[in-house]
Amino acid sequence: MTAHRGRMNAWKSIRLELDRTDDFPTGSVGRAFLLRVPLDDEGRIDEAAFANSPHRATIRRHWSSEPDESGHLERLEDGWAMRSNGKADRMLKLAGEGLRLGERIVLVDTTGAALPFRIASIR
């Protein structure tokens, strides 16, 4: 029962906000991704819970002055990627291991360009 409840509670809503870049020297709260993913105790994406219901792992992209985008989390051979459907398909790979509040995470697009994000909330 505990394990079951643990799994149920593992689904989190995580907000990533753009961290400092050349264009945004102080970062930007108006440029964010919302991920709904299952996390284990170490803050890593829980593979088993994801495999059980992959359609629950959704992505939202909320970007100032741009249309909202939605998509899904995808399992790659060497990690995880967020794929969303805007004007063109957008695929961003999550670099690094865990997702912990206040920490930074880097998203890498298909051209190899990296964008830094800050984990603003985990609920």
Binding site: G30, R31, S53, H55, H62, S65, D68, S70, A120, R123
Partner: protein, 381 residues
């Protein structure tokens, strides 16, 4: 525009900074100050609470970050248009629309915008009232809802029309029979009795004609206040208002609403209030269908198909049962405990009266996708 110039100018106008701060802190509605290109200059304490951002985080950001699509990507254009034409579409008028919280959820708001010039620069002040948990219907909502109730009556007309036609058929058939009878009686050289019978038949004809007239008048009375008005309207605007209305009271369900409208098919030739009724019914149905679902995603999208725009409303709810599916658009068919089951039949009447079609199909995620088409009003280049 520089916040460092505007705020001191406002302080000068209001007296002291403490005075200004006290105004900003005590205004019960959220107050947001932007410059003429949409950059946030000031964000009141109520705005911080309403949206979940601190003022220091959002000052310098584009105000569009507080809106969901389609307003998010269009707001810069709205401002540009106002700078160019000076035509006020919202300033001094106010409207019901949808806002987005930092946590991703959307909520209905009443937005009023004022314009001022400070230090030669144009600034806009937005007052935002959260209507999610409103106890009393706001004036604007009341207006819209009474209009919608009105549309309900008009749409029932469609359902009632066939029974009225049937009713009208009876006196008309009787009139035809009496007239034929009277003509027969008057043929040749009728005796006194035949003349008497013919007179009675003609009297009966008059009675039936009056009855038919009454039926027609009843229909006219029923419709009197319900003339529909088709105009060129922005689908984004219609959607934004309907979405806000549908979300009133739905905040606690935690529905994730995504709106992806095709900008090419924005202009449609419709009766705004009627189409809002259709959207309101479909969005509310979708929200109700997801009450017990672990994933509550509502996706509203549009795309152009020839000279029509197709609008889809997709939920991740419980789906439509096989037994209900074939008769879903019939009146008085419902799976709900409450409600009369006329919502979807009204939707069909309205959509078909616009020359469109409505239908549904199972959605990929297990829910349902409702789809309807409307005529576009886009001018061909």
């Amino acid at each position: 525009m520089d916040r460092n110039r505007v705020i001191p100018a406002m302080i000068e106008a209001t007296g002291t900074e403490a005075h200004l701060r006290s105004i900003l802190a005590t205004v019960p509605d959220a107050m947001i100050l932007i410059d003429e290109i949409g950059t946030i200059l000031s964000f009141s304490a109520a705005a911080e609470k309403m949206f979940g951002y601190a003022e220091r985080e959002v000052v310098g950001e584009n105000v569009s970050m507080l809106m969901p699509s389609p307003d998010r990507e269009r707001h810069d254009g709205y401002l540009r248009n106002y700078r160019k034409t000076g035509v006020r579409k919202i300033i001094g008028i106010g409207r019901v629309t949808t806002a987005r919280h930092r946590d991703g959820s959307t909520f209905p708001i009443e937005l009023s915008i004022g314009e001022a010039r400070i230090d030669g620069q144009r600034i806009f002040t937005g007052f935002i009232h959260d209507v999610t948990q409103r106890q009393q219907t706001e004036l604007r909502l009341q207006d819209l809802q009474s209009e919608l109730a009105h549309v309900g009556r008009v749409s029932e007309m469609g359902t009632l029309a066939s029974s009225l036609a049937h009713e009208l058929n009876q006196p008309l058939t009787a009139i035809a029979n009496y007239c034929e009878g009277a003509a027969g009686l008057l043929a040749g050289s009728p005796d006194q009795e035949a003349l008497e019978m013919a007179r009675e038949a003609l009297q009966e004809t008059a009675v039936q004609a009056i009855r038919a007239g009454e039926i027609v008048r009843r229909m006219r009375d029923f419709l009197r206040h319900g003339e529909t008005e088709h105009r060129v309207e922005s689908l984004a605007r219609i959607m934004s208002e309907a979405n806000a209305l549908a979300l009133v009271g739905a905040g606690e369900h935690g529905v994730d609403v995504q709106v992806n409208l095709d900008p090419v098919g924005d202009l449609v030739f419709v009766d705004r209030v009627q189409i809002q009724q259709v959207l309101l019914n479909l969005i509310r149905n979708a929200i109700e269908a997801m009450i017990d679902s672990p994933v509550k995603n509502l996706t509203i999208a549009s795309h152009v198909e020839g000279d029509m725009v197709s609008v889809s409303i997709e939920d991740t709810g419980s789906g439509v049962s096989d037994t209900l599916a074939p008769q879903l658009f019939q009146p008085f068919i419902t799976s709900k405990q409450k409600g009369m089951g006329v919502g979807l039949s009204i939707c069909r009447t309205i959509v078909e009266a616009h020359g469109g079609r409505i239908g549904f199909e199972p959605a990929a995620g297990g829910g349902t996708t409702f789809r309807f088409t409307l005529p576009t009003a886009e001018v061909e280049e």
